[in-house]
Amino acid sequence: MNKKSGQLAIMFVSMILGIMLAAQFKNVQRVGGSTSIQRAEELTARVQKLTQENEDLQEQIRQFQQRIREYEQSAQNTGQLAQTVENELQQTRMLAGLTDVEGPGLIITVDENIPMAIQYDNLLTIVNELNAAGAEAIAINEERIIATTEIRNAGNHININTTPYSPPYVFKVIGDAENLEKALTLRGGVVDMLSTYSITVRIQKADNVMVPKYAGAIKFKYAKPVPPKE
């Protein structure tokens, strides 16, 4: 084999290698490698979700403004009626979990002694017991529990209102502190059961618990109210 032409071939090939290296280098500098591609995909999905949510909220704002105008008009006619409607609205918003509420109740800290001890159904059980004992508002890690709230395992986390959380889980509950505590700590009750799974439940009574409102958007795409029949 001719030595000179061999060297020329190596030179030519290493030139192509050089071009590839430089192109790849520029590309990595521009985009930032494969991890940031993944990150970008993740963020794109988030942006799409948020954009959709934003549109829904805008729509909701328009609807509310429309309703305010209607109420204002009727308020000019009958101030009494407006007051009643206002009260009713406030009541409904409280029930739906759309307002921050405060009052006496419990702060419950649920933590695990071994990893992955807390499963979603443990949290559901606690919520269930609290509701049965007359809790008026519940939030886990500042996520208000409303009618559509899901509590489910998602990988190593538990999703509450589509936001992933990991232990400890802090419940904020408004209601009769005495009753609520008894409902949880009765012999053979939830706290007993959870302690066998290496889950510790710490219950504190508080005179003033702040339960935040539901932060997401509630939308009804399929359900429509049925007008009451006479």
Binding site: G6, A9, I10, S14, I16, A22
Partner: protein, 118 residues
């Protein structure tokens, strides 16, 4: 001996100046191809030092390995099999082996003593 390095520098400069842009979606496959190409060049240098250099084997290996690695990585991605790991492992191992042999040849030529057996 200096021609490959000269070629590499020339290529780097060309690649940097020319507006060659790889679409983001294909960047992982190009990186595998780059690794395969790098391996081929080291293999070529080694063969040249061993006086066993064959231009056809070298050029076909360079392009063949690069294309095969990229295509396999692509197919692996479609089938959710991380074939690119195999490519990285195979080419990476060979690259270091080739470099070790090249190193010994260079050391030998510098000192003039027989240092092939470490």
């Amino acid at each position: 001996m200096w021609l490959p390095i000269l070629g590499l520098i020339l290529g780097l400069a060309l690649g940097y100046i020319l507006p060659v842009n790889i679409p983001t979606a294909y960047a992982p496959y190009v990186s595998i191809a780059v690794l395969a190409a790098l391996d081929s060049v080291f293999g070529g240098v080694r063969a040249w030092l061993e006086k066993k250099f064959d231009i056809e084997v070298f050029v076909s290996g360079f392009f063949g390995n690069a294309i095969l690695a990229a295509v396999l990585a692509y197919i692996g991605d479609r089938l959710d099999i991380p074939i690119y790991l195999a490519a990285i492992f195979a080419f990476g191992t060979r690259l270091f082996q080739n470099f070790a042999i090249i190193r010994r040849y260079i050391l030998k030529s510098i000192s003039g003593k027989d240092k092939i057996e470490d």
